[in-house]
């Protein structure tokens, strides 16, 4: 009876070790994927990768120029929108000029 009990305890230990090992593999795999993820393509730097002095590099340069110019406008939109609504609180406050129930 005692031997069976010892055997079960040994099995539980092995199972726990296997679980820890599997978890370790999963974590290591996830970290590898995160660290080796390609950089986001949303950043549009003005770098030209084509060979200099070619039509390809001039094309790339002019396209980057256009893109940067567009971004100057689009990134300002949120601020413009906020500023377009900036006087709303002052307008709303006019409605609080009096509280007729206290007359």
């Amino acid at each position: 009876m005692q031997r069976i009990k010892d055997k079960s305890a040994g099995m539980a230990l092995v199972e726990a070790a296997v679980a820890v090992l599997v978890l370790g593999v999963i974590v290591a795999g996830s970290m590898y994927v995160i660290n080796h993820r390609p950089a986001s393509s949303s950043s549009t730097t003005n770098t030209v990768t084509a060979q200099p002095g070619t039509t390809a590099s001039i094309d790339q340069l002019t396209q980057n120029d256009a893109q940067t110019e567009q971004q100057a406008s689009t990134k300002a939109d949120a601020q413009v929108q906020q500023d377009a609504l900036s006087a709303n609180s002052a307008t709303s406050n006019v409605g609080g000029a009096y509280n007729e129930s206290t007359l």
Binding site: N46, T62, D65, E69, A72, T74, T91, Y98, E100
Partner: protein
């Protein structure tokens, strides 16, 4: 005896608590309503002046907020213009460098002529594209300014109506008080109803204030579409210029 004393003391405490609670809970309105008509009418000119002053002060603040808003939007536009100017200058310098390197690859007169034609075509395409972008930005700004002006006109009208209605209600109440000072409660009830109606109408109108945000988004979408159209025209011009240059270089076109 002691038990009787305790009972009396407990009753007194409970009674006092109830009395205090009633005093605390009783709305101020009921006090105002129970004041004598003449008291209401006596205080009315002072209250009317206070309301008028508060309205004027808050309306001044709206005009001040509009002035600040104009400054902010001008600053936003200037920031974009500065970025665009800086970007264009940097791009022009880089493009000139590219052109210099391209010119160096032309060995025959025909190739040199083709490079010159190509450079002119590219510069024209860039210039056309930039003009289209400028125009799209200007359309966005004009649209925004028009929307803001229209909104301000509407708000100005709503404020005038609000102020006019409130003033008229106060004047009517003051006249009624002069005619019949004893009729205070009735005059007050009418005034309260009129002022409440004016206020809730004005506050209800405020729901449209947020629509400017949607207008900005629509204008931005229109501008983006204009940018895209300009990009397509630009690509077509660039493609034609590139094809002509490559044709002039013939077998060595891979180097350009």
């Amino acid at each position: 005896m002691s038990r009787l004393f305790k009972a009396v003391r407990t009753s007194t405490l409970i009674g006092s608590s109830f009395a205090l609670a009633t005093l605390a809970i009783a709305p101020m309105n009921s006090w105002a309503l129970t004041t004598t008509g003449s008291a209401f009418c006596t205080n009315l000119p002072n209250r009317a002046a206070t309301i008028n002053n508060q309205l004027s002060t808050l309306i001044d603040k709206v005009h001040s907020a509009w002035a600040t808003q104009d400054q902010k939007i001008t600053a936003d536009e200037q920031k974009v213009d500065q970025e665009v100017t800086a970007d264009r200058q940097a791009a022009d310098t880089k493009r000139d460098n590219e052109f210099t390197q391209l010119k160096a690859k032309a060995t025959t007169d025909a190739e040199k002529q083709a490079v010159t034609t190509y450079i002119t075509a590219v510069n024209n395409a860039v210039s056309t594209r930039r003009s289209a972008y400028d125009s799209a930005r200007q359309t966005f700004r004009t649209g925004l300014q028009n929307a803001i002006t229209a909104r301000r006109d509407t708000i100005g009208s709503q404020i005038s109506t609000f102020q006019g209605t409130a003033n008229a209600a106060l004047s009517t109440a003051e006249t009624a008080c002069t005619s019949n000072p004893a009729n205070g409660p009735t005059i007050r009830a009418t005034l309260v109803a009129s002022l409440k109606s004016a206020r809730t109408t004005f506050q209800g109108d405020r729901q449209a204030d947020g629509k400017l945000g949607g207008t900005v988004q629509q204008l931005a979408a229109t501008r983006t579409a204009a940018f895209k159209a300009a990009d397509q025209a630009f690509q077509t011009s660039m493609s034609a210029a590139r094809a002509a240059l490559k044709q002039a270089f013939g077998s060595t076109s891979a180097s350009i």
